[in-house]
């Protein structure tokens, strides 16, 4: 049976791991390689690295970091943040990334999804969607959640699937950083609208929140950052708990 995936996310800024709370306040949560190795050893099913460095110059250090990560861990990992061209994708995949995630650039130029899928295959393409409930609907936000796009989340999810996305990483900005649980309604709506896997993100604060997202939605993975970074909950504890709740877990 296919297992539900537990995916820690590391936000990378200038080569270090950080995590924003509601996308604004940032705390340092350590060295990315050390954290990644710890997570892999602790049972992480995949790892996502999101580069939030402000300048192109700083982003270049990301390639070297990706090469080091690829040498150090033997589980799949995704790299995202600021990817806007085929060359960006090629550089990351050549450096050893298994998948890339695209966000703002794909909203601004949706053909990017089709270009990446046709060149490298859908299996390496995660479309990250930042969504926020506003004016009675879930809308897509870009630029790390700073800019509203007016696009309905469901519409965008369907479009990314049609263009060749391999999976969708759906982050609820309303929930992100709150530790009050995942956004079950939009996660389930998107899961039911498309036939590609959905990774739920934003709001995980307890072991029960993962059980909730796996029993009340069709999400195939759950992503979180701070709950794992500050050793509030270890991945192995979470997986042991989910197994006792009869959720398929590696």
């Amino acid at each position: 049976m296919l297992k539900k995936r537990i995916i820690p996310c590391l936000d990378i800024k200038d080569g270090r791991t950080v995590k924003g709370v509601n996308f604004v306040n940032i705390r340092d949560a350590g060295d990315p390689i050390e954290l990644a190795k710890k997570y892999a050893a602790d049972g992480a099913d995949e790892i996502v690295f999101l580069d939030i460095s402000a300048t192109i110059e700083k982003r270049k250090t990301l390639i070297q970091l990706v090469e080091r990560i690829a040498r150090e861990i033997n589980i799949p990992f995704t790299v995202g943040g600021g990817i806007s061209t085929i060359t960006d994708v090629k550089n990351l995949i050549t450096a050893g990334a298994d998948k890339v995630s695209v966000n703002s650039a794909a909203v601004q130029r949706p053909e990017l999804i089709a270009e990446i899928a046709s060149e490298f295959g859908s299996q390496c393409l995660v479309v990250a969607i930042d969504t926020k409930f506003q004016e009675n609907d879930w809308k897509v936000f870009i630029h790390g959640g700073r800019t509203p796009s007016k696009i309905r989340t469901i519409d965008w999810a369907l479009q990314t699937e049609a263009l060749g996305a391999g999976e969708i990483l759906l982050t609820s900005m309303n929930n992100d950083g709150t530790k009050n649980g995942f956004a079950l309604d939009i996660t389930q709506q998107v899961s039911q609208s498309v036939n590609i896997p959905i990774i739920a993100s934003g709001g995980a604060g307890s072991l029960e929140h993962f059980k909730e997202v796996f029993t009340k939605t069709a999400a195939t993975g759950g992503l979180a950052a701070s709950i794992f970074h500050y050793e509030e909950k270890s991945i192995s504890n979470l997986k042991t708990y989910l197994k006792t709740q009869n959720i398929p877990i590696r």
Partner: protein, 192 residues
């Protein structure tokens, strides 16, 4: 020395990293004489079947691969390319395994992404591996079960998770990304 067949697109360095962690030297190449001199060959695959087959034809690798007598391991798309035919891009493939590759029907999420266990396993490639062990899959097309199937997995329908015919082995999953279980499988291949 293990040779890893070089591709036009995709991440082949993962396989090299995994071999390095087993203390095994490897070279990434599309040079036929280098492939022939290697003790073992790994044929990873990322991307689409038709463009990969076009690449193999351009590099005159089709007959070269079919003629290899050393232990040979195809991974993911590599496995699919070793079959007769793939529905992906209506592609005629290498024809080493007498079976075909089909698109998963949309009865569940496609691609099949994540960790899944085996239904059955047999043979030396799976020494010290259990059917309940999970390995990492990421694919939208599957290889039908056939006489060469040495491991099966069930997602939407049963499919070949691994194949073997003579010196040719193949896995649909990524051993290089499958943590300790994958490491054991690669070790088993190295020790063949």
């Amino acid at each position: 020395m293990i040779a890893i067949i070089k591709y036009n697109a995709g991440n082949v360095s993962s396989v090299q990293n995994a071999l390095r962690s087993l203390g095994c030297d490897s070279i990434i190449t599309n040079d036929i004489s280098t492939l022939k001199k290697a003790d073992k060959i790994i044929f990873p695959g990322v991307g689409a079947a038709s463009s990969a087959m076009n690449y193999l034809r351009e590099k005159s690798l089709v007959e070269a691969i079919r003629g290899i007598t050393k232990p040979f391991l195809g991974i993911c798309l590599g496995q699919q390319l070793m079959c007769k035919y793939s529905e992906e891009g209506d592609t005629k493939c290498l024809g080493i395994f007498d079976t075909v590759v089909k698109l998963f029907p949309p009865k569940n999420k496609v691609p099949h992404i994540g960790w899944n266990n085996f239904e059955n396993i047999k043979g030396s490639l799976f020494k010290q591996v259990l059917p309940t062990d999970d390995v990492y899959f990421v694919h939208s097309y599957y290889t039908e079960i056939c006489q060469h199937t040495i491991a099966s997995c069930n997602y939407i329908n049963p499919f070949s998770a691994a194949l073997n015919k003579d010196n040719f082995f193949a896995t649909q999953f990524h051993p290089e990304k499958s943590s300790l279980v994958g490491k054991q499988i690669l070790k088993n291949f190295i020790e063949l």
